[in-house]
Symmetry: C2
Subunit: 338 residues, 2 copies
């Protein structure tokens, strides 16, 4: 395999000149650089990464804690990871993944000391996350996908719950809806889901009020069965609603299925709008669900970019970012019945 010395010899320059020609840290005559690049091409040279790291070069790798699979059928995590990988690649970084285990944190700290890792991307953030504390203590740069209430000073990418709620409320209002129901999930202990759900619920509360929508919040869990119960509960009430916002995938799906089974037409009798969902991406629900999608890939991409910006600390950068995602209007929402 070709080394810097080989390139230097072929280009008839010194070894250090080759380095500078390649990394641009000192000025090199254009003609010389040409010669070097030609030689690089001819020898198919690429710098030995380990040697570079050892010699004090900054590592070009980022660690990613790979989520433990939670058991729902969401492709969310896959998209996060893909966003991170693509983002890293576009900036010439590599991604090293770790399983999400207790020991991993300690190992990453060591790996960082080894010089192979520049920073870390975390997902599935929990309240009082031990990893967060460990990385902060060791001063290892990290960015979170998601956040907790105590994340004020940390770097993260998260959903813009308020914006999503606003988009949703606005959409329904624009269709003439006045009374709606919101299908929420009951608080789950020690999970990232807690805050996500609470935040969404609060945001929806805020924006439905703001837009003058009467919203009824139903609490269940994220399952098909729960979706069916929502439907039953809703239609035995006297004062009916004309639209429903579902905050969880399975419950929303269950609701739609129950409605169809009961002969209730969507959207002519009731509109259904999904938030925080991946459902629309697949042909799983009928009619196709109008939703505000989770911009998962973008979030992953953004996270890794924030991290790399920090590493290069070229200037002051964004350290916290909220992404809403777009409303995709499909077949499940329509004009409110008169």
């Amino acid at each position: 395999m070709a080394t810097r010395a080989d390139v230097a010899k072929l280009a008839e320059v010194s070894a250090s000149t080759v380095s500078y020609a390649l990394n641009g840290k000192r000025s090199i005559k254009a003609e010389t650089r040409e010669r070097v690049l030609d030689a690089v091409e001819k020898l198919n040279y690429s710098p030995h990464i380990a040697a570079g790291v050892l010699a004090g070069g900054k590592p070009k790798s980022v660690a990613l804690i790979f989520p433990s699979y939670g058991g729902n059928f969401s492709s969310l995590h896959l998209d996060y990871v893909q966003g991170v990988i693509d983002g890293a690649k576009s900036r010439n970084y590599h991604v090293i993944v770790w399983p999400q285990e207790e020991v991993s944190t300690q190992e990453i700290v060591q790996f960082k000391k080894s010089g192979l890792i520049a920073g870390v991307i975390l997902m599935e953030i929990m309240e009082n996350d031990k990893r967060v504390k460990a990385f902060a203590k060791e001063k290892i740069p990290f960015v979170m996908i998601g956040r907790t209430n105590s994340s004020k000073t940390l770097k993260y990418v998260d959903r813009d719950f308020e914006k999503v709620a606003e988009i949703a409320a606005e959409h329904l209002v624009s269709l003439g809806h006045k009374k709606i129901a919101v299908l929420t999930q009951k608080r789950m202990v020690e999970s990232t889901v807690i805050s996500v759900d609470e935040r969404f619920t609060q945001a929806v509360k805020k924006y439905t009020e703001k837009f003058g929508l009467a919203a009824d919040f139903l609490v269940g869990d994220n399952s098909i069965a729960s979706g069916g119960s929502f439907f039953v509960e809703l239609f035995k009430r006297p004062k009916k609603v004309s639209a429903v916002i579902g905050l969880t995938d399975l419950a929303t799906l269950g609701f739609v299925n129950a409605a169809r089974a009961a002969g209730i037409s969507i959207p002519s009798e009731i509109s259904v709008l999904g938030l925080n969902t991946q459902l629309g991406q697949i042909d799983l629900i009928s009619p196709a669900l109008t939703s505000v999608y989770v911009p998962a890939k973008e979030m992953g991409n953004s996270a890794v970019n924030i991290l790399i910006d920090e590493l290069n600390e070229e200037s002051v950068h964004i350290t916290q970012q909220l992404l809403a995602g777009h409303l995709v209007v499909a077949k499940s929402t329509g004009q409110a019945p008169k």
Copy 2:
């Protein structure tokens, strides 16, 4: 950060003794090793990986081509990846992921030359896969998850289609079924799905015959709608079947939903058995689907173990492995109606 020299000084031995005490490549007096290990502990020393690689040590990392997300809702890929990561970790290897792009292959070749990668895990194998050719040409060790018809001499982990078919056929026969239908997918061009589906179809053909099951093969695609069509087609026929094997997730789901909507009871009127599915893992289908699950994590785990075995080439090892996965009996299959 502590280096080997620091450890050596504290343990009052030479630097090389520290190395040998840690890697066991030369015999060291037990008492000396103790001293070294104590010093390592005290200084929280861990070897600088990049330096090790540079000095000729074998890299302890494996590359994984991260699948491009195909758009179905399967968590299959997530499980593969998790299996690979866990397996690698249990053998003290790290996993570096690449997006599945044309350029990645070339980059991995370079990375390998850089000495940071020992081998590669491939998934989503296609016929005439360029990556396979490239790695074979460059003599980079790799293991595939999945295979093609021309994989005879390559290393891979794949599903044991025959065994799965046998399990399925046996289960239905044991419940007294005589006539069944099989829901298959039409050939898709240039995708890993081709061979998987063909292999399953052939295997099912073989074992239904072997067990004396009359099987009717219906061809559609993997969608809810297609599942509905299957149902319609099946029930307008004169000679009815008592059980159905679904080879794809969405079609199977569509079939079950259509049956329920039509008031056909599962399993008392018709049994449904899913192969090659992740469906049962989630509360998405009702009644719960009896299935032979894809042992995706095990496959990932196995693949990385085959790779690492090869790298260590301690002896002759398994180079090809077929995994069936277990039959999980749920609520969707029962005795054939008389």
